[in-house]
């Protein structure tokens, strides 16, 4: 039992995935069928979440399964994030046409989640590569899931091409690492990378290309807006949160396990990339008229903010990066959830589709207010403390200029987030007849929105417990 316990979340996820696909043919087609599968998945995920939270808590970090997996707080925390994000995404699936009728959609979601869970805890190059692929392949399919919709197909195909390409580059980097050291275990590799010589430079760039794609760092961000725009909205939300967080988990582990000796060089490169990522993401977001594309660019910028915490390369830095991801996952899922509802009702993702929303559904508008202000970094929402900690970590490690860059960027961000609120609260629908065009929220989505809004407020106000969780994870790495 002891050996199976650390991978209990993965085992349970796999069981759930099997159950979903096996149950599907036995269900009668129709309305009930849809909501049954959805709720089955969601309840299963929530049970997994609770079980993991209480029974899979790691003690001192240990390597298990022949060094394939490291059982530590980083993996534990990120697994919780992924399972939670998957549960929320499954709730959003239930409200999306085509996704809710097919058991495959839930299956793919669950398989991708298994991959992410392994990504966060794998301690071996082989395991890491396999888990990255396990994550990516289902996501390619999900992005292109709406087979009748050209944009969705384009999105899936583009994601596949970019993903396969960078994954090949990443694999090349891994093979170099193995070739020059003779080991694939991350925690044995560290002694081989003490100097920033030409080999280390080469590997750094190869790895960066692969991982920067995952978290959409500049200059590997080009795929994000196109993929998010075409993919079904809940899938885009999942990509921008869980998948990105998984990338960060890998970056954090690689940096601390393999490259601590040359962290100064890495940090400088990452600082430059973070600056460019934030700036490019925010500036292009200013010009967006499509909310999904806007959120895509904004999520590029947010990867830059979280990267500030990584650059700081200190326990506080890592803690704040993880904390940032918590706040970001909750907020961005919320934002994409709202975009999904508006998209379903108005059939458009254009900002003008949000005209008069506050008169059409005032509760939904308040949720949007929470989401966008939290993204902008306003208290009492999660985004504020997250940014505060990230900047604080940067200042602590002497990266004052980076903190200033981050702050200037958050001002740009504030501008376009407030702009959306203007559409929601100020502008009217063309016929000024909001009263007769209410926006209804279905039950599963309403549930997800309530959970997420509460979460965003909770992270922003009751700070201490989450922070101590994140700092456990950080201390396990250093």
């Amino acid at each position: 039992m002891d050996t199976i316990l650390p991978i209990l979340p993965e085992v349970l996820l796999l069981t759930l995935a099997m159950l979903v696909i096996v149950l599907d043919p036995f269900l009668k087609k129709g309305m009930n069928h849809r909501s049954f599968l959805g709720f089955f998945t969601v309840i299963g995920l929530l049970i997994i979440f609770t079980l993991s939270l209480f029974f899979v808590r790691p003690g001192d970090p240990i390597l298990i399964f022949g060094g394939m997996v490291r059982f530590d707080w980083l993996g534990f925390l990120f697994k919780l994030f992924f399972v939670f994000a998957a549960a929320m995404t499954a709730l959003f699936f239930m409200d999306t046409n085509k996704l809710n009728q097919r058991a495959e959609a839930y299956l793919l979601l669950l398989v991708a989640t298994i991959g992410m869970c392994l990504m966060a805890s794998s301690a071996d190059l082989v395991m890491l590569y396999l888990s990255i692929e396990t994550t990516s392949i289902p996501l390619y399919i999900l992005a292109g899931f709406l087979t009748g919709d050209e944009k969705s197909i384009e999105s899936g195909f583009k994601y596949l091409l970019f993903g396969a390409m960078t994954s090949a580059v990443l694999l090349y980097g891994f093979s170099l690492m193995y070739g020059f050291s003779g080991t694939t275990n991350l925690y044995d590799l560290g002694i081989h990378f003490i100097k920033f010589d030409s080999l280390a430079v080469g590997i750094t760039f190869l790895l960066l290309a692969g991982l920067a794609f995952k978290v959409s760092l500049f200059p590997f961000h080009f795929w994000a807006p196109d993929v998010y725009e075409g993919a079904p909205t809940p899938v885009a939300g999942f990509l921008s949160t869980a998948s990105k967080a998984a990338g960060f988990a890998v970056i954090l582990r690689l940096l601390t396990a393999v490259f601590p000796a040359i962290s100064a060089n890495w940090s400088t490169i990452l600082a430059v990339l973070a600056t460019l990522t934030m700036t490019v993401g925010n500036l292009i977001a200013l010009a967006q008229k499509n909310v999904k594309r806007l959120l895509a660019y904004s999520s590029i910028a947010h990867a830059g903010y979280a990267m500030i915490g990584v650059v700081a390369f200190s326990p506080l830095g890592t803690t704040s990066a993880i904390f940032y991801l918590v706040a970001y996952i909750l907020t961005n899922l919320l934002a994409f959830g709202i975009v999904g509802i508006v998209g379903r009702v108005t059939g458009s993702d254009d900002v003008s589709a949000y005209n008069g929303l506050s008169r059409r559904n005032s509760t939904l508008s308040l949720a949007a207010l929470v989401a966008f202000l939290s993204l902008a970094g306003m208290p009492p929402f999660g985004g504020f403390v997250a940014k505060f900690f990230v900047f604080s970590a940067a200042v602590q490690s002497g990266w004052i200029w980076l903190a200033v860059v981050g702050i200037l960027n958050s001002i740009v961000g504030l501008y376009y987030y407030l702009n959306i609120l203007k559409y929601i609260y100020l502008y009217r629908m063309e016929n000024q007849d909001e009263e007769h065009n209410p926006v209804h929220i279905s039950r599963p989505v309403g549930l997800a929105l309530i959970i997420l809004v509460t979460g965003v407020l909770f992270v922003g106000i009751v700070i201490a417990p989450w922070f101590s969780f994140a700092s456990h994870a950080a201390l396990n790495l250093f």
């Binding site: 005032s362 208290p379 505060f388 200033v404 702050i407 609120l421 100020l426 922070f467």
Partner: protein, 490 residues
């Protein structure tokens, strides 16, 4: 364990906002009643705190401290001193009068009052917080509802522009100060955001000289300091009446107060080094603001620029770093808050009826709106610093302090009094006296009871403090005492 007055004052509006958001939007009557009740509760408690404050001892009182985040030394730490306790009272008064005057808002009143109360909560929080992190937390809470309030209920012509401009200015200011605060936190070595402890940390003089300016100016943006005052007249004019009252009456004090508390009190050596510059900027504020105000034709812009001018006096009082100047600035914050709240209330009442704020088009308003006219006249006397009104208690000591520091500045600044007198009197004559234009004859409906109560409350305070300065002087003096100890000279 004493009764937690301050945290109740801070969180009452926040809770009220949440309650309001739970009510059905159609129940407008219930929404207004709840809003007024919450505002009255906050006011009652702040009056209690004001009078229960022990003015014989310098330092903080009503202290409450709850651990919030021990890892970084962040706690929920409330407390007031003689400088902040009048401002807490001011916020309570403006909140109540603001609700009374906004009674007639018919477009989404639920959201209006909820946002207004979130704003009020933020303002109370900044005045009462003794923790640097908390101060930023509440400071930002006070900034963002402003955007929504102006953009949704503001003056249709400029609201989008003004709201965005205001929010960006204030946000930029606050985040720049935040960097300064973070640097202070890490270099203090105390691992705490507690301002009582940070006050005792002796930062090196070089450090203070580098970081004072960004911290002070970052906050002073909200205090309307030149050359960052630009957002304020536009914001005042575009905002709906109650929001203008809050904005000019309370929010600008928030900036000045935070600049004092974080800038001057935590970095006193830096303050001494940069005081001449601050004084210079404040002088521009005072004189330039007054001249610009005198050429405006829009009633609300006149008041907007006069606010810039008067807030300059507060900054100038700070920059003297002398007992008289600081004391005057403390009283001026309160007096100016009440005065502009009254001005904006009056402008709003005239505009709601005449549908124009263009001064040449108005006239003879004293007949249909006698109380409004009297209010504006009293407000004008206050703004000129006439003895017998609260403005005198505030401005005279400021000039004394400035005279002691640099008499030339005092002489130049005194020009503004003359200019102020000229434009306020001119505005009164044109708007309230003379012949009433034909189009308004018989169309100006009188103000209602709630409006009257609000106006009388504000007027009574200005006259009351003018005639009985003892109602405010000891409080502010005890607060100034503490600042002087930190500045190293008594």
């Amino acid at each position: 364990m004493q009764f937690p007055f301050l945290s109740i004052i801070v969180f009452t509006p926040m809770v009220a906002a949440l309650v309001l958001l739970m009510i059905k939007p159609e129940q407008k009557k219930a929404i207004r009643v709840i809003a007024l009740t919450a505002a009255l509760l906050a006011l009652t408690l702040s009056i209690w705190v004001y009078f229960a404050y022990d003015k014989t001892s310098a330092g903080y009182q009503f202290i409450e401290k709850y651990t919030w985040m021990p890892m970084l030394g962040i706690s929920l730490h409330f407390g007031v001193d003689g400088l902040s306790v009048p401002l807490v009272l001011l916020t309570g008064i403006v909140m109540v009068t603001g609700v009374m005057i906004s009674w007639g808002i018919d477009d989404r009143p639920r959201e209006f009052f909820a946002f207004l109360f979130i704003l009020a909560s933020g303002v109370f929080g900044v005045f009462a917080s003794l923790d640097l992190f908390m101060l930023f937390f509440f400071y930002e809470i006070a900034v963002f509802p402003m955007f929504l309030l102006i953009v949704i209920w503001g003056w249709i012509k400029t609201r989008e522009y003004a709201a965005m401009k205001l929010t960006l200015y204030l946000f930029i200011g606050s985040v720049i100060s935040m960097i300064g605060a973070l640097v202070m936190f890490w270099s203090s070595g105390a691992n705490t955001f507690d301002m009582l402890i940070l006050e005792t940390v002796k930062f090196t003089p070089d450090f203070q000289k580098i970081w004072f300016l960004p911290v002070f100016l970052g906050f002073a943006v909200l205090g309307g300091i030149f050359p960052f005052h630009n957002w304020s007249p536009d914001g005042h004019v575009a905002a709906p009446t109650a929001v203008s009252m809050f904005h000019a009456g309370v929010l600008m004090k928030l900036g000045a107060f935070a600049a004092l508390r974080v800038g001057i009190m935590l970095l006193p050596v830096g303050a001494k080094f940069w005081a001449p510059l601050i004084m210079g900027l404040a002088l521009v504020n005072i004189v330039y603001g007054a001249f610009i105000a005198s050429v405006q034709t829009d009633f609300k812009y006149v008041i907007g620029f006069s606010s810039v001018s008067h807030m300059g006096l507060v900054m100038m009082g700070f920059a003297t770093l002398k007992p008289e100047g600081l004391f005057g600035a403390g009283v001026q914050m309160f007096s100016h808050g009440i005065m502009t709240a009254l001005f904006f209330a009056a402008v709003g009442m005239v505009y709601d009826r005449a549908h124009t704020r263009d001064i040449p088009k108005l006239g003879g308003m004293i007949k249909p709106l006698p109380l409004v006219g009297i209010g504006v006249i009293i407000g004008s006397l206050v703004s000129m610093g006439m003895p017998g009104f609260s403005g005198f208690v505030a401005e005279f000591p400021i000039f004394m302090g400035v005279w002691k520091t640099q008499w030339v500045v005092a002489v130049i600044a005194a020009i503004s009094i003359v200019v102020t007198a000229s434009y306020v009197l001119l505005v009164i004559r044109r708007v309230f006296f003379g012949k009433i234009p034909d189009e308004f004859e018989g169309h100006i409906i009188p103000i209602n009871l709630l409006d009257k109560i609000a106006l009388v409350m504000l007027m009574a305070l200005m006259v009351g403090i003018g005639l009985f300065p003892a109602l405010m002087v000891p409080w502010v003096q005890s607060g100034v005492q503490h600042v002087l100890i930190l500045l190293g000279g008594v």
